[in-house]
Symmetry: C2
Subunit: 441 residues, 2 copies
């Protein structure tokens, strides 16, 4: 038996406590499988006395995470503090510079400083593992870094935020409004009091940037992500999507195009009969399209103490087994600069919901604006307002507006935005058009 | 740069040619990522002159795979010959004993000799990698061996045979008979001329045994699998499943129970609105339920030259990076003996399709037989024959039989089989009852 692997865990919130529970239950078995014991030598957190439901017996207490990070008693520093700067960043840097392996679940930190940290890790010949930073227990980091290493990835996308997927699923299944479901999610603790970070798409964007770098071998480029949240998705969109054979999901998508990489986070229509459409509630998924592997889909628990602990533990197992591929799959010196594709050049089909004034010439004007940009339509549906009687209540009242749904054939984002801006200017619509991208699966 | 890693490839069929294509396209990039070149030093196949669409330039030709396996010019022996004995087994054994790492896609070989081969590999301190043996490009071996190493797996199941899933999907979507779809699949090359190996469930069973050993740390036990194929699934079952909210899939399931492990391959009803139900055509999937990771689903291309080559290449990448965890995740000495649970003790719900004679007392007799075994019913549906007019054609003709569908609550296999045997003995049914297990997802 080799020397035991000694861990220092900084941050004993939900995930930290989950990891201690996992190690208490399976630590001995893991040690026997990997051929060396796994020991928690030291821990650090804000409060020493909080009851976490796990024993800290035999673990040295560090009031200061940075001190733990460099302590000679540890081989691996496990950062579960969170935050894209401050003590998390300082302690991870300190650990790497002191020659410690680092395991972190901190997507915000890596989205901002991942490239630089990977550089330090490589120089120090230590591991920087972050399976838990994206999609919880789903082994997507390992899959990209190792299993798909022989592929040229063309596109990767996923449902990466459980809060958003829970809200959209509830809106779909229970026909409730966004605001209503959000309120309930907050009451139940599925959404934060300030939900912007989740529902605004920023959490998804953090995770997406890490997947992008792993998929394409590029430097992490969080400031190059196009981000839209789910705030503007209405029950009318959910229903129209259902009628047309789609579900609406908040996707993070990274795609290699001829002019560069698209990184985009936005609500997207996906075919109802696809496996991705069936990913409901807080479940996450990641789909990878590679030139040899074809389309892969990985799905599972994207958050939670146990799922995240499972991912952190897998990173520890890899270190115990003595292997550490480069953090982003390719050596630091080979990470390519990020080249951003213009979103205006994005090619795809679109869903558009218009609130059209009931007056002569309105539809003709709209169709003209769409046509002059070269956008061709797959379908136009003018829906009777919900609850209205056919032919009676649906008769136009002067000045009233009717919902009209357009589905386009493939076109460019630029053409689409131009057409919608013109339609809005023409005054045929009562409100800003809703536009949702249709993502081919 | 380190010494290049030298490969010997035995078997240049579809997969072998796919691997050579992958290495021709991405070999240099892979070498640069892993920090050492990847070179094909030697190849072996039945015919030297066959046009495979790939160049063999610079590769030494070996007429004898066993000679290639031990040749000093290679570091890794890649067995793509197939077959559970003969030259495949002899050459893999020879390679391991000569201290070569081995990569194989051969599930039949491993299902029969996997435990013994793992023992040799460990003794020789070399890798025995077989990502391509199960579910093609889906990184399920790596996930079990590494990513989920810190979990206690409770159940693992999957759609592991593309031919069967293609046939069942076509029966579902095009309302065609088993025989009709099978014939077409054979004509298109999706099914073998002798399809028994696929449709009889044996291929699924081979793959399942490998997943079982990885999931539970047990010796490979192919002779302990309960195997049923899809031959007996009728269009009537597919339609009834659809009405009841299910799809029928051929699953391989390994489950830890109190009395041991269940390994079973059989058609199963899965809920229509699950992601597994949406796995259609030749796609494969594997679902893993672990105590910390929760439920994970991995899906993708289960066969084909490119997908399989992707998996083989990932095994090569791991070896090039210098890592070789034990073949079945735990050291050979720790592989537990396989303890089989009695299938009679299997707990689950059942779908039963009976062809009941239209005569007084038949349904009462059937209900009595079910009840006396303690089986309670969730639903009973007597379906009007397709195309029949309500109340007219459906009127019973003397001596005719009507299809009756039963869905049970959870019970044991023993109770179920006992009840059905009694029903058959009583003479109320015109043919042997159809019984399909309902698999909870």
């Amino acid at each position: 038996m080799n020397q035991p692997l000694k861990l220092g865990i900084a941050g004993l919130g939900t995930v930290g406590a989950g990891l201690l529970q996992l190690l208490a239950e399976h630590g001995q078995q893991i040690g026997s499988n990997v051929g060396r014991g796994i020991e928690v030598a030291g821990v650090s957190a804000r409060s020493r006395d909080k009851n976490r439901g796990v024993s800290l017996a035999g673990m040295e207490w560090f009031a200061d995470a940075e001190r733990l990070a460099v302590d000679p008693s540890i081989d691996v520093f496990i950062e579960l503090i969170g935050g894209d700067d401050g003590i998390a960043k300082a302690s991870v840097e300190a650990a790497l510079k002191a020659g410690k392996h680092v395991v972190t679940a901190n997507k915000a930190l890596l989205a901002r400083h991942g490239t630089a940290l990977a550089g330090i890790a490589e120089k120090q010949r230590v591991a920087l593992n972050f399976e838990a930073a994206v999609a919880g227990a789903i082994p997507v980091i390992k899959s990209l870094r190792e299993a798909l290493a022989a592929n040229k990835v063309r596109r990767i996308y996923g449902i990466l935020n459980g809060t958003c997927n829970y809200i959209l699923t509830q809106m779909q299944e229970e026909h409730r409004s966004f605001a209503d479901v959000l309120k309930e999610a907050q009451d139940r603790g599925y959404a934060e009091a300030d939900p912007t970070f989740d529902i605004g798409g920023f959490d998804t964007a953090h995770k997406l940037t890490l997947l992008t770098s792993l998929a394409f071998g590029t430097r992490v480029a969080f400031d190059q992500v196009h981000i839209e949240g789910i705030e503007a998705v209405t029950q009318a969109d959910i229903e129209a999507a259902d009628d047309l054979g789609y579900r609406i999901k908040l996707l993070g998508v990274a795609q290699m195009t001829e002019s560069g990489i698209e990184q985009r986070v936005h609500p997207a229509m996906v075919p109802k009969d696809s496996a991705v459409a069936e990913i409901s509630g807080v479940t996450n998924c990641v789909a990878i399209d590679g030139d040899f592997c074809g389309n892969l889909l990985l799905a599972g628990a994207g958050a939670g103490a146990k799922a995240t602990a499972s991912a952190v533990a897998s990173d520890i197992v890899d270190i115990a087994r003595g292997k550490s591929p480069p953090p982003f799959g390719v050596p630091f010196s080979q990470l390519k600069p990020y080249k951003r594709a213009k979103l205006g050049q994005h090619q795809g089909a679109y869903y558009v919901r218009l609130s059209v004034y009931d007056r002569p010439g309105a539809m003709a004007g709209i169709a003209g604006r769409v046509g002059e940009r070269g956008v061709s339509l797959e379908s136009i549906v003018q829906r009777r307002p919900r609850g209205a009687q056919p032919g009676i209540d649906a008769r136009p009242k002067p000045g009233s507006a009717t919902p009209v749904i357009l589905i386009t054939h493939e076109t460019t984002e630029e053409a689409m935005r131009g057409a919608l801006a013109a339609i809005l200017r023409d005054g045929h619509v009562a409100e800003k058009p809703q536009m949702i991208r249709i993502e081919p699966l």
